[in-house]
Amino acid sequence: MKAVIDRIEGDLAVVLIGEKGELKLNFPLSYLPEGSKEGDVLKISIERDLTATQETKQRVSGLMNKLKKKGQSGMIKD
């Protein structure tokens, strides 16, 4: 995906993303490679991380089940 650092405002890099630079995102400089400066063209790639998604789902499911088993205060009745 095409991206250009339009300018630096303090600790933020204003990055214009897309063929026409239609999406503007303010990146903290700490999120960008060292030495990034105004006018740099960036390479941005986004991938779906299916492994991490699956791992997160399992972790959250485990937590939810743990909480359900702890029971409740008696205020809510079926």
Binding site: K57, L63, K68
Partner: protein
Amino acid sequence: MNKSIFGRVLLAALIIAILTSAVLASENLTVYFWDVGQGDSELIQFNNKNVLIDASTEDMGPRVECYLNGIGVSSLDLLVATHPHSDHIGGLLTVLNDFPIRQVLDSGQEHTSQTFENYLNLIDQKNIPFEVAKRGQTIDLDPALDIEVLSPPATHFTDDALNQNSIVLKVTYENVSFLFMGDGGTAAETNLLSSGYNLDADILKVGHHGSSSASSAEFLRAVTPSVSVIEVWEGNEYGHPTARTLTALQNTGSAIYRTDRDGSIMVTTDGEGITVAKVQSRCSNLVSSNTISSTASVPATASSTISASSDGPFVASSKSDKYHYPTCSAAKRIKSSNLITFASSAEARAAGYSPCSICHPP
């Protein structure tokens, strides 16, 4: 005065004070619809008990906490997380950290966001009793209040699942009902219509920030609210609320309140009438600012009479934390650019102001 008579007078005064506060506390149900940017947060207050529904985004947590502190809430009897989206549960992380909470009611839906995982972890660490919402449950907060879970149904929705499976609550106090829709949309509404529930309500927390995915005309005809409240931020990029939703609400004859224009809204009822007030609060300056004051009254409907609360007006400075009679010497020194007006002492106190020690307002 001899000691025993003095003692009896003191005791009588004490009993009267206790009885008065008990009667006052048990007579009014108050619901706050907080101004929390692009997200939802509502507080139900009755007989010294507090139920918080959602707390908007994570950056709004401190603001929700400020609102609660401002009206003297130090613990919650129930925390309701309508669904796992960050504009509803983000601010709950602050609330879970800082307030004792007796019980959490969750939608039971799982989400992969770090915000949701942090929320579950906090509930686990604090050992807060956790219950999953399902249609037909009742919440035993106070014998005078009926609270029922209308949604999600036993079989969850699969499209737009997190929103559609939002917890929907109906709260009824004598002749006045509130319907809290979360982000439930037309699928949830259609299901509710066919469920046989009486959906008629006086006050509607409009579903999904007034988007067109909710508030079907058929559903609104069944609810026929007198007052509709939309929780929304003026700068939102999603087009909320849509013109279609606003028109649909107007067609039911409902008065419409919006947190983007009106700030926080306080609805008070004694079980018969409804009072709607705009809450002036310094908390709204946390994260972003929004300053509107004054009380508005709403056209009365057959089922409820609505009046403005009446012991005011009182004034205050946005730079101070005291409220005054307009005639107070201290009030006259307030610059007009800082001047805030409250319709009642309750409104002033709800906004975090305390009585001036010169003019002693109620």
